[in-house]
Amino acid sequence: MPVVEIDHLTKDFYVGFWKKRPVRALDGLCLQVQKGEIFGFLGPNGAGKSTTLKILMHLLHPTSGEARILDRPTDSVAMHQSIGYLPENPYFYDYLTPEELLTTMGRLFGFRQPALSRKVDALLESVGLAEARKLQLRKFSKGMVQRIGIAQAIINDPEVVFLDEPMSGLDPLGRMEVRRIITSLKARGVTVFFSSHILPDVEAICDRVAILSGGKLQEVGVLEEILKAGIEGHEVILAGGTDETMDSARRFCKELRLMGDRLHLRVDNSRQLEDLLAFAFARKLELISVNPIRSSLEDYFRSAVDRKEPPDVRGKAAAGVSRNS
């Protein structure tokens, strides 16, 4: 049973003075997210990622289609008891301290003292804000706001967490910290659905990704399979070669570089790889490593977005609405 089911979800926004002109932000999106996976929701700005997440959180009403989380409709308050949500560029009551914010949020889930205090303490510790527990949120840096945002999203030990651009605007250390939190959630069996356009982070932690563009789903799949399909060759590193060996090896490979006493060679296909390895064994060269060279998720993302149909007027307008919102 999928944890998140999105079935032909469509959202039109109405713009203009009389709010009569529809612009489509999301167009028939169908998607399923399985239990325990980290699901990356990718797309350029204005693709419809935040719109999808807001529909899932019941902040927006869909024009048509349906979405279910934990087999319940998005307006189910009981379902919201079991999920967490971090909005994009989160902003919380800046007159509160993190301790007060988490206590207030915990009360909304029906937690009582003293268990709530213990939970708040543990959460502040886990997101590295224990020292700042008495500091008002207005004095927080962006990274700290993001961390308190994640803490409020997981205060109820959710089964599914939705994170909207959790790495956006963070420095490398901040992004690393968020990645650590997300992977620790997965280790606890939590399903993580997060949108992002920072591809190296997605590549580092996602099990599956969906690529959205112009409000339409372009691709969805297991990350490793997607990347496996894009293997462009292998890099072989050998040691112990002489100049003569180098000249002989040239006929097997496309590129060849000598770095110190090591030969770095690039072959385009498996046939060339087999020939090169046979040559290396025959010459008693030391094999250091063989690494597949594959297209990055960035290349895949670019090709998926490029493959989509040229956006029509409605698609362009929808992107504009999303950017403005």
Partner: protein, 264 residues
Amino acid sequence: MKRILAIAHNTFRENIRDKILYNLILFALIMILSSLALGQLTLGNEDKVILDLGLASISILGMLIAIFIGISLVYKEIEKRTVYALLAKPVHRYELILGKYAGLLFTLLVNLAIMTAGLELALLYVSRAGLGAHLRILPAAYMIFLSLALVTSLALLFSTFSTPALSAVFTFFLWVAGHFGTDLIRFGEITQSAAVKWLCRVVYYVLPNFSNFTLIDSRHIIQSASYSRPIDLWAISWATLYCVLYCALVLSLTVCIFMRRDFK
């Protein structure tokens, strides 16, 4: 109910930290200066003047807070996007509205209680009024609180779909117009046109009637204390019933609009 209380508590805390209660300093200044000046400006009318000044200050300062905080209660949540994290929790949208409303009402109640105590102190300092007059301030303060509850509900309604500036204008307009309900009925009665008469009556019933909350004024307090007349419980009961029903109606409308809203 717990969720409404949690939201109300948070709203109250927000108001306190936004230094709303600084208006009490202004009120204290009015009371101190007027008390000092009264000895020189009035001849035996200190009770009435201090009561007039005190009750008017409580009412106007309370109304200003109700309008200016009320109009931004929901608007600010949406503008600053704090509503996103809140509504993603197991919270019904109506609970958010009721929690915000209750939080502001509690702020107004605390504010009003402190101001009423200040008025009592000023009265004790300048007047010769007996215990009866002092006790009769409480029903007057209660009536002011009812009017503030009504103003808050109107401000909250407008804040769900309009900008703070427009909401302030709408709420203030209704507050002013609501004081002239009986004049509207009288105008309808003297006019020759049946249509105008009917229109005046409809507008009279639709507009909030704030004259219901001004039945206990300084003159009433002093006279009833002087003649040891009992407190007019009928006026208080009617005002309470009217306030509860009107607020329920306005809040229902607010919830209906808020339920249909998209948070882009």
